[in-house]
Symmetry: C2
Subunit: 533 residues, 2 copies
């Protein structure tokens, strides 16, 4: 990116009515989710500048936008190598027990700490780039503040706090694009109430209808969360404070967000309170569908009345340990459906004929095919929405992060079966697959859920574009910012008021009781005196 | 309405794809707000049946709908006579003091009790009509569950609970159309959190930024509200229980609402938590604007550079006590603007020439005229939105109900001045009028507020129509119903869980302390023994 081109852009767009937007995206599937918004904003005449690292997994130039890159202290190959290594570790741990979950949590914390500091510094402390960006005089920033709900983000997106920190550096109103932040930091930052009595916490696997024991656990987790988060976000807090040269926390920085574009809706998430500046754009990723290639079309059409099954474990897991892979091959051998599997690992000699292995799958296009019968997925929110949009029952194999909770949400709606990949057997997989394919209730419920999801007054992409442009036009969304931001935790929960009222109540009771006792004693003494007399 | 026509309608629409909707509206300005939705729904091919009393103030047939009427034990003239009488009483009380506000509250309670029972019975216990309605086999019901925020509703709409009760009788999903219910019964029924630390209660006149003392008052009111409401809604509870032959409350009946169409947005209301099934349609009433009549156009154009002022006190107040009216005439005499005043009372001989008195004003059309300078209004939500839509600074004269709070909201945004009509003087009115007309900040802030209000991804009318049709298509909006509805008050607030955890904590502390003391005593005794030995 040379200065001449930059100046040309500034000249061409600088005086235009349309807005100027800085985009700091995340890698992996999150970039795929954000890309259509960014391109549409560019197409509509806004000047959109996307800042990405030189080495990344899936990020690259997008249409109608300007892409600026910055050097990072690693190559793409190293990144991919790292991921493969870490995945092996993750897949070898049974994540179903609470202890393992906690280990996984610590493990991700470790990755985060290792990668974040050196990577964010590549961007934040790249003075030339920051100066260039400053000169653009942007109207707003669109960024992904944290996306560790699938573990992939933890591995590939150590730049997560960059967008938020730059927004403060440049005093820009911010539009966030995310699924959620662990420990509900997003809700805390947006001052969104989240009653623990019917809003299950992440990693609990609870539904919104909890037993007394579950509500106790949920409450304990709610109390512990802020402390867990403090450790987790300490590096972000330190980085923000150091860079902005003021004592701050990541939560405090996040709380200035103008609009929160949340990648869910209530066909997937349990209904819960929201705030005026929370905009739901669940299903934004499944708008675009292309026709299948001739080869794929022939394969799936050849499946006859039995149809076919789509099997992927997310954008990053295309291999499995050999023993684990065998479980799947054995199961697929015994079903009449054809199977399309995104898999690049070793293939056994007796691999069944009905299975087509591919390096990459056009997932949404396949799920939209009339012959598709089921979707085997790890339960990332992107895949889930592609399943919901197209009304395909699922077999879920949650691996990490929010995936267990995601699976639980669909199981509770009767549209999916969930299995643990760690103690998976051919039999278990067969039972689950047959169930979602032959038991009509799964398809019926999924069709209804899909109809409700797609029946909306405005498409999620249009909504995301509208609110981003709104923030550019009005330099924020001040009218949607609750006064709660000016209260501390004690004031927000009215604890000072309750304490004061209790103090008055206790004082009144104390004075009353004392007065009564005093009167009583007086009377009693008089009676005694009289008696003595 | 004869049976043949009914059968014809059933034959024509019975099998159509479009939905069948029962509408039970409210009178006065609320009907004017709901009418465009109802007509649009009819125009789109839905079968819309509107049920209204034979005698009403403003309700009548609407386009593309079927209107059914039922007899009531009073005439339109009696209704209007009643209102004039009650208004005199209301206008003679100074509503600014807290005591007066409470008197006003009791007073409205009284009207409510007198009118409600005999009027609702005219509809609910009209067996022929109810049977006819039943035979329509509706998909949903659209109704105004309570609209006492302006006192007019209390006087004219005693049928308020009818729609909700009929919905239960027919087991129909319900769409509510309202501004709010006193004591926040709507929020309680929708299980919407409303933290008293930044959500001011009605009738307090507080903003969302409260002092410690104000937060104490707000908290006390929050505690007292449910008890106040219990008295207020006891007649509705009794009526519902008697009619549905089961023990129920109005709140319980309301809580089954599928969608809440709320006639506000956050350019007017303070930002606060909302629930997924709350849809904001503030400003729905100012979409339609017609050109002015030739006479009016000439009058306002003749105002020259000074422009003109619009003055109305709501759809029901067209007269004022003579002394009060004189204050206005005197003030208007001293301003260079022309004035359009909806007034039917006695006119003094020396009435100023710049004032045009009219029986009825095309309020929204006038407020949209480029020469309009200010809007003098009582602060009903309809008028306020017409002011906001058209960006006109206001002088507010709140009379009753929510109007004081409404005025406060606009004053806190710097787009209006508020005066008490009870101790109004010509000077005070002149000062306020000059301020909003000549101090440019009012117009500037109002223009910004108006721009933000009108900048929305979808028009409120389309949103209202969409969600009503959604409820018809899917027989409700189950996916937006929070699990909180299955919790009682103690469970919702996790008081049982907190109690249990405290009990454990106390037990643990008690046992620990006792054990320590026991050990300590043992050791102490041994030491003593040794010493003795």
């Amino acid at each position: 990116m040379n200065i001449v081109r930059l100046l040309l852009i500034l000249f061409l767009f600088g005086s235009a009515e349309a807005g100027k937007l800085l985009v700091v995206p995340s890698d992996g599937s999150h970039w795929l989710g954000m890309k259509p918004i960014v391109e549409e904003l560019g197409r509509r005449g806004n000047q959109v500048v996307v800042v990405i690292p030189e080495a990344s997994l899936s990020m690259g130039p997008s249409e109608h936008t300007t892409t600026l890159t910055y050097p990072v202290p690693y190559t793409k190959a190293e990144l991919e190598g790292n991921i493969a290594e870490e995945l092996d570790t993750i897949l070898s741990i049974d994540m179903t027990s609470d202890l393992a979950k906690f280990q996984g949590f610590l493990f991700s914390l470790n990755i985060l700490q290792t990668l974040t500091v050196r990577s964010t510094e590549s961007l934040l402390f790249n003075e030339d780039l920051i100066k260039k960006l400053k000169d653009f005089n942007f109207d707003a920033i669109l960024t992904d503040p944290f996306e560790p709900m699938g573990f992939d983000a933890l591995l590939t997106d150590p730049f997560l706090p960059c967008g938020t920190i730059i927004a403060h550096k440049f005093s820009l109103p911010t539009v966030y694009f995310l699924r959620g932040i662990p420990c509900r930091l997003d809700e805390a930052a947006a001052k969104c109430p989240s009653p623990p009595s019917f809003v299950p916490r992440f990693f609990t696997g609870y539904s919104d209808k909890m037993s007394f024991a579950q509500r106790i656990n949920n409450m304990i987790l709610t109390t512990v969360e802020p402390f867990l988060c403090q450790t987790m976000f300490a590096i972000f807090d330190e980085l923000g404070s150091r860079y902005l040269k003021k004592d701050t926390t990541y939560k405090e920085l996040l709380s200035h967000g103008a609009i929160w574009l949340l990648r869910y809706d209530f066909t997937f998430e349990y209904p819960k309170p929201i705030m005026p500046n929370i905009v739901q754009i669940g299903g934004i990723n499944c708008a675009k569908r292309d026709p299948l290639s001739k080869e794929l079309e022939e394969f799936v059409n050849g499946s006859g009345e039995h149809g076919f099954v789509v099997f992927t474990l997310g954008s990053m897991v295309s291999q499995l340990p050999e023993a684990k892979a065998r479980v799947f091959f054995e199961a697929f051998k015994q079903i009449p459906q054809r199977v399309l599997w995104r898999y690049t690992g070793p293939v056994p000699e007796d691999a069944p004929k009905n299975v087509k292995l591919m390096k990459w799958l056009p997932q949404n296009d396949l799920l939209g095919h009339p012959k598709v019968k089921a979707f085997i997925t790890h339960g990332g929110s992107h895949g889930i929405y592609e399943g919901i949009c197209n009304g395909v029952p699922m077999v879920m194999l949650p691996l990490f992060g929010d995936q267990g909770d995601n699976a639980q949400r669909l199981v509770s709606r009767g549209v999916a079966e969930s299995l643990s990949i760690y103690d998976l057997s051919t039999e278990k997989l067969l039972v689950a697959l047959k169930k979602v394919i032959t038991d009509k209730s799964y398809k019926e419920k999924m069709t209804k859920l899909s109809a409700v999801h797609r029946d909306r007054p405005i498409e999620p992409l249009d909504l995301a574009v509208f609110w981003t442009e709104f923030v550019m036009r009005h330099k924020g969304a001040e009218h949607l910012r609750p006064a709660a931001h000016e209260l501390n935790w004690i004031q927000y929960h009215s604890l000072d008021v309750i304490g004061f009222l209790l103090l008055i109540l206790v004082t009144v009771i104390f004075v009353t009781v004392k007065s009564c006792m005093f009167c009583f004693r007086k009377c009693f003494r008089k009676t005694q005196k009289k008696k003595k007399e």
